[in-house]
Symmetry: C2
Subunit: 106 residues, 2 copies
DNA sequence: TACCTTGCTACATTTACCGTAGCAATACGC
DNA sequence: GCGTATTGCTACGGTAAATGTAGCAAGGTA
């Protein structure tokens, strides 16, 4: 049912509801984490991997490609991944999550 | 490396950073979508499945269990899944995402 | 030259998810 | 009682995705 994402296809996108496409994109492994780790300064692929608990480079590369196609992440000319203005805007949306998580704690 | 979540274990939880555990939990398939679909009134498991594009009940059940253990979702006595006050609070955090997605559109 | 680090990929294994079917429990009527 | 629907939930075989390790070519630096 759901197609590969490397081609830019996103589950739920056919519904015409952008929120579904966004929720699907962000609901993939490491997507949220990547955005979170890039909230500060740009990171090299290696540094990003370290920040993400040594997640396998295969997935990270997939997610980075998807996030780049979505326009949230970009690869700087001097090397290193950083957030685009759009990506930064998206990241701001998640910031309240930090405070929420602290109160949640489980 | 990451253990099953049915036991309450969440990737990143050992770092002691709740935000990581939260990002991991929400970064699993259908987690965000489920919270989103429950934002209104409670839904029965079947209705929720319909709302989620007929996602397989296996995953939905897993996610519901995890979200229940996290305290975001509860199963009402009269049947049907709904958000807890905490879950509602979390969902509010994602509401700005809707507007963002509309502007994003890809 | 040799040595780094960069972004990125191959490949085999493990895990997660899908799709279909069906369970027990609870309620409806009839 | 009976049959028929619901409910939440699970088994199982097959497929897709993530893991973990290794290593590539390109570029820099000495």
């Amino acid at each position: 049912m759901a197609k590969q994402a490397a081609s830019g296809n996103v589950r739920g996108s056919r519904t015409g509801r952008p929120i579904m496409a966004l929720l699907d994109l962000l609901g993939r492994r490491w997507s949220l984490r990547i955005l979170w780790e890039l909230r500060g300064e740009p990171l090299t692929s290696r540094a990003l991997r370290t920040a993400c608990d040594e997640a396998s480079p295969t997935v990270l590369q997939s997610r980075l490609t998807e996030l780049r196609e979505a326009g949230f992440v970009e690869l700087g000319e001097a090397g290193g991944y950083g957030l685009t203005p759009l990506g930064r805007e998206l990241c701001e949306t998640f910031m309240p999550l930090h405070r929420f998580a602290e109160r949640w704690r489980r």
